[in-house]
């Protein structure tokens, strides 16, 4: 009896905060008809926002994957001083609001920032341009891969790596042939989570991008702009696009988890 009550509570909760709102977005999106949806997501600004969002994710995710694996290896496999500090610092993006991250980046890389003028003099503009958006997204996505890989590394221990070493494998060979295959599902899961976050990031990107339509406007920023401009149908359409990407990511994640649990 209590088990049924528990399930009911969970479904009501999930329904009210997740399923109903998301379903409403989809209903609202498609109620004016497919044609309206199509023309709304194929405006030049929408197409640009779509590709920019994918571009940012495509640059960000490999960077955070490499940084995440390196950080996890330093934390678990080395005795370097400062590795405990690194383990705390790597979680910082979870704790800090993305808006604050954005403002901090402006302070460093902005026109009057600490590094901004020096970079501008050699032609690199971070703020109000794509590099800034990538930087902000990297910062926000940093913990996901490391968080997934650290426990896997701890669990498998270093026996296999030491065995490979005694058999003559160099560090790089050991990493490619032993460590990487052992952490592959944790890494894949971290990459999927990073991708979802990179696509959905709003706060930090909103501050550093400048929101220039057709230039530095990502999908989330487009949703906000359309909503602010009372173009709710347009906002819903762009949201639906984001939701479709999110659902795809979720399905991939479930697939990866199934694969991993079968190992």
């Amino acid at each position: 009896m209590s088990r049924i009550a528990l399930r009911l509570t969970m479904f009501v909760y999930l329904g009210l905060v997740l399923i109903v709102p998301v379903a409403m977005v989809l209903v609202r999106t498609f109620s004016p008809g497919l044609g309206a949806f199509w023309s709304s997501v194929t405006t030049p600004a929408a197409i640009h926002a779509f590709w920019l969002t994918l571009l940012v994710a495509a640059i960000t995710v490999p960077i955070v994957a490499v940084l995440g694996v390196v950080a996890a290896l330093v934390i678990v496999r080395t005795r370097l001083p400062g590795r405990r500090l690194l383990e705390v610092v790597i979680d910082l993006p979870f704790a800090i609001s993305p808006v604050v991250v954005g403002l901090a980046l402006v302070l460093v890389y902005g026109r009057d920032g600490w590094l901004g003028p020096a970079l501008a003099s050699v032609g690199i503009h971070m703020i109000f341009s794509v590099p800034g958006i990538v930087l902000a997204t990297v910062f926000v996505c940093l913990p996901f891969v490391a968080r997934e890989v650290v426990p896997v590394l701890r669990e498998i221990g270093d026996d296999q790596e030491l065995a490979a070493a005694t058999l003559g494998a160099s560090r790089w060979t050991t990493f490619i042939r032993i460590t990487l295959p052992s952490i592959r599902w944790g890494l894949a899961y971290g990459i999927v989570l990073s991708t979802a976050r990179a696509i959905g990031e709003f706060g930090a990107v909103s501050v550093v991008s400048g929101k220039v339509s057709g230039k530095t406007e990502t999908l989330t920023l487009l949703v906000e702009k359309r909503y602010q401009n009372f173009d709710s149908a347009g906002a819903y359409a762009a949201s639906a696009l984001l939701a479709i990407i999110a659902v795809t990511t979720l399905l991939t994640m479930t697939y990866v988890q199934r694969k991993a649990s079968r190992q």
């Binding site: 030491l162 070493a165 005694t166 003559g168 160099s170």
Partner: protein, 320 residues
């Protein structure tokens, strides 16, 4: 041949090895025996290059390898928990050392098949470690270590994670394998029976230093300290000295060198009979008899007997 000179290693305040020197003759099977924390595993890992010593040197076949990376030492190492490469099948596991040396494919396949035959895993080539029993995994790990034709084979509690029957079986098997392959082998164990059964030479460690080294019979019959005597087999205290329970004789009549005792309990344990006695002063004493001896004496609880210890069998308690 392995030579270790004045090796020392600390982990913080803990002295894992304090000035240990050791010589392992070529082709021998040596056991590093000792309680946990005695430094035996640290010594083995230092020989393999998996630990860096604070001081001292390691020579393999006359070459100083103290500062040589484990990759370049040419040692085969077998871990207690197998360290099987979980994502590779048996064939790829055993072939690993040869694959990364980029040996020809035919040669690798032949070597792997030959080694799997030696360790009794023919037909298991395409299985994954998760499909093998513990004993099979450890034999695979041994084949993997032997594939690179190591100068020395180092085994770190290789049977420690296996249950008793498999352990005894693999022990006999390893001894036979060693007699065939003749690679200089060092085995770490905390099990004195395993060390006595397998090794030509036993090195007994305690608190990071060597208590005694020698053949199993030397250590058993002429222990250098009460620690050695106590570690290699059961001991009981009698007349202020340590003695093996099977060296105590029981007589029904008193003599000038006997001590009076009362039988508390007679326990039949199959091939041996354990007699629990109480000495005149009230201290307990356990004696081990064969079935024949026990049958002749017809002992029963409450009976008064007289115990005697042969001179050579004792060791002064507390003295080194």
């Amino acid at each position: 041949m392995i030579r270790v000179d004045s090796l020392s290693k600390r982990f913080g305040d803990f002295v894992a090895l304090g000035d240990v020197s050791l010589h392992v003759p070529a082709g021998s099977l040596t056991a590093l025996l000792g309680p946990s924390g005695s430094g035996k595993s640290t010594l083995l890992r230092t020989i393999a290059g998996l630990e860096t010593p604070d001081g001292g040197t390691v020579h393999l076949d006359g070459t100083d390898v103290t500062n040589v990376a484990p990759q370049d030492r040419g040692v085969g190492f077998v871990f207690q928990h197998y360290a099987a490469f979980k994502h590779m099948n048996v064939r790829d596991n055993v072939a690993f050392g040869l694959t990364i040396r980029k040996r020809p494919k035919d040669e690798i396949r032949d070597t792997v098949d030959r080694l799997l035959d030696v360790v009794g895993l023919t037909g298991f080539q395409t299985r994954y470690p998760s499909q093998l029993s513990g004993g099979q995994r450890q034999r695979m790990a041994l084949a993997r270590a032997l594939a690179i034709e190591p100068k020395v084979l180092l085994l770190d509690e290789p049977f420690g994670a296996l249950d008793r029957n498999v352990r005894t079986e693999l022990r006999t098997w390893l001894r036979r394998l060693h007699d065939e392959v003749h690679v200089t082998t060092v085995l770490v164990t905390h099990d004195q029976e395993e060390a006595m059964d397998l090794a030509d030479q036993i090195v007994l460690l305690n608190h990071g230093s060597i208590e005694q080294e020698g053949s199993p019979t030397e250590l058993y019959d002429t222990p250098a300290s009460d620690f050695v005597m106590g570690f290699l087999g059961p001991v009981v205290e009698l007349d202020g000295g340590l003695v093996r329970p099977h060296d105590v004789a029981i007589a029904l009549t008193a003599d000038h060198d006997t001590t009076e005792a009362q039988v508390v309990r007679v326990v039949h344990l199959g091939f041996e009979v354990r007699i629990e006695l109480e000495l005149a002063g009230g201290s307990p004493l356990t004696v081990q008899l064969t079935r024949a001896q026990a049958a002749r004496l017809e002992l029963e609880a409450g009976q008064i007997v007289f115990v005697r210890v042969p001179e050579v069998a004792t060791f002064a308690a507390g003295g080194i």
